[in-house]
Symmetry: D2
Subunit: 146 residues, 4 copies
């Protein structure tokens, strides 16, 4: 779906969501910051699909605070539109995860927004740490859920 900047297989997953009225603005499309909230939904469902949800990761003491986010706005989405959130996750160095995101209309595949988020891997106290072994295993073993 997109070129990997890391040249390695990555775990991919897709999920659907509906645009909420609370996410629109007076221009009649979604407000720009909602793209980052939808990226979060994509990350959550992608990590769940690996077998270790982010809620579980936090319980194990591994947090993923954002370091960087970028969004390209490619098309409109209105209230109640059904969107597909496609996500590919991989390591970007030993202590970072990168999620590449593409949001499209579920029916027409028309593009809505794309971009990425870069995350540090930290312990519960917020100290940067190398990826724990189970996280490496989970992402390497991963196959995209249907």
């Amino acid at each position: 779906m997109w070129a990997s900047p890391m040249g390695e297989p990555r775990f991919q997953h897709e999920c659907l969501l509906r645009v909420r009225y609370s996410e629109t603005d007076q221009m009649g499309t979604f407000y720009n910051s909602r793209a980052l909230e939808w990226f979060e939904v994509g990350r959550t469902e992608t990590l769940r699909a690996t077998g270790v949800s982010y809620a579980e990761m936090e319980k194990r003491g591994a947090l993923l605070p954002l370091v960087e986010a970028a969004v390209r706005y490619e098309g409109r989405a209105r209230y109640d539109d059904l969107l597909r959130v496609a996500c590919a996750v991989g390591f970007a160095g030993k202590a970072s995860l990168r999620f590449d995101m593409a949001i499209t209309h579920a029916d027409s595949a028309a593009p809505v927004a794309a971009g990425h988020t870069l995350h540090a891997i930290t312990d519960a106290a917020g100290r940067p740490t190398r990826a724990p072994r189970w996280l490496i295993d989970v992402l390497q073993a991963g196959k995209s859920a249907p």
Copy 2:
């Protein structure tokens, strides 16, 4: 400004805020849940005006989780409109605080939304507690800031 359900003087305060684009929706007015976020701005500025901010209250181990909220929607407010948030706070029993709110247009005084929030008083662990002495003193001594 409004009848007190508690029949006692209460601490009153007003502040101003501007409607953000992120707070509008495709109906062209503010999205309904923003009223509760503006109530929070009013609570924050009202407690600061007492001399003990809510951030300071949390540090002292007194939290104010919501028990109940009610909003009447009275008029439209558009992006960049300047709003006045008027707040009156008083005790509602020994372990609760009630904030009565009225949001109006700063220029015309046309009504936007009104309502109240009811809060438990808890310690840092979330256990309900009686109002600490300093909070009683602060609210009783309070005079509305200019």
Copy 3:
């Protein structure tokens, strides 16, 4: 599930949603205004289940601006918790709709929040109007979707 203030059968529906990280706050539970956003998700899915979605209603020129909202906060909900949003909708007079809402944990049925929203029925220009015939038919014919 709750007493009807209108003494008449109403259309009922339930849906599920997951708490997003963006919906939490530093107290570790959901931020209070999110309850109104979840009520909106419940309204949207309930109207869709009647056969006429709210997006379709808007296209037909019938809007449902909020007149009043009330929420009781009954329990905590954390990031990634799966919630059940139960909704019952009925007329409250000739030109108003009322949605009664109850949000619970999907697994334990522990309560999270409950309340209602009251909506005017207006035309596309925002003028109050009586409920259109098709809306009356849709709600009266309705049976709760499974």
Copy 4:
């Protein structure tokens, strides 16, 4: 404050805002998408300082939909922290505006987030258009407000 990618003087402005409780998340800092909402506050106050607010621009039929946004997360910000939002705006080609943003703590100047947004200039119907003369004049004549 930052290098201009456009090699030309740009209109600069700063404003202050306080972190709302609604903008925090369970990690105890601001939720990542709030940075884009704060960028919007910065754009709004910067355009107002030019003498033509964005609300006025919309009335004149010139919209600024987002094309691209990027954020670097540089530090934490907690509820009630007072932040400085610094903004520099200039043209990026004949039909685009670029806002460069830096958010810091108002007291310590410690960095919180920085980035930019790129905006098309469109007419009220959403068609891309060249910058209107008055907008060029306003930005070129601009001096940073105190």
